[in-house]
Symmetry: C2
DNA sequence: ATTGGTGCAAATCCTTTGCAATAGC
DNA sequence: GCTATTGCAAAGGATTTGCACCAAT
């Protein structure tokens, strides 16, 4: 795994402290994080950061493929940009789980043929339902 | 197809003018509509409505299964509550297309076994990508 | 030195909520 | 008549933007 600084510079982005830390954070967490959660986590480490920068950084990381977004109820959630994968999202609390399924690639291709919608590089399929905690 | 009034009363909801019109609107449009679009459409017909009522109505219709929500970039989009189906969402403009695919039900079941996430009655799978207009 | 990034503050977009008035049953 | 539903106004959460300063290359 290349260093955060290299990952950034390879895509024409400056390797600032904020960006390196956010990249680290997304890579180290199993769960997906909202912008607010990223902000809180960075501040807890003593980093001087502004919410606006967190939003801008998450956006630019997503654009260059170092992160990915998952839409759902509440705020958007962000995950790292490593291997493409699919997601399961709780319709109530917005929690996101990764789905390491290859099988769905066929379904995705099928959909592309039908609709002309070009699949994302990042996880293309989203599964909606109620997570364990919310279905009690 | 039962009348809007009946659909509503069967679920314990009062059949108000707003609700009937919103229900009609969702049923008559092929595309999915944002709350703002629903509001505009109603006002154009001369109906006296408030945005807050549109939001409340769309929420309650979704709760009782007469409508369904699709999360994506920008505002939430709402569609009718008829047969369960899947969706394709443009990551850029948020446009929603229906996918009348039965085949994906297998994928959904597979995911449920793996994650314990219980599938929605409404379309459970979301496909993300760029629509024709946005990929130019 | 240049230019991309950042903090700060303000603005915007989308949505929810409290409450008195109204309309469905 | 009782109570769900509405309009209005105000608040709230999430995100974006303008701009002067700062820092990575």
């Amino acid at each position: 795994m290349p260093s955060p600084s290299l990952l950034l510079r390879d895509r024409g982005l400056r390797a600032t402290s904020n960006r390196r830390q956010i990249l680290d954070l997304l890579g180290s967490r199993a769960s997906h994080l909202s912008a607010a959660e990223v902000y809180d986590a960075l501040r807890r480490t003593g980093e001087r950061v502004d919410p606006a920068t967190v939003y801008r950084t998450l956006e630019v990381l997503t654009e260059v493929g170092l992160a990915h977004v998952v839409d759902g109820p509440g705020p958007k959630r962000y995950g790292d940009g490593s291997e493409p994968h699919h997601h399961a999202v709780c319709r109530q609390c917005g929690a996101v789980k990764d789905l390491p399924l290859r099988g769905l690639a066929d379904a995705a291709r099928h959909i592309e043929e039908l609709t002309g919608l070009r699949p994302d590089a990042s996880g293309a399929l989203l599964f909606h339902g109620l997570c364990g905690a919310c279905s009690l």
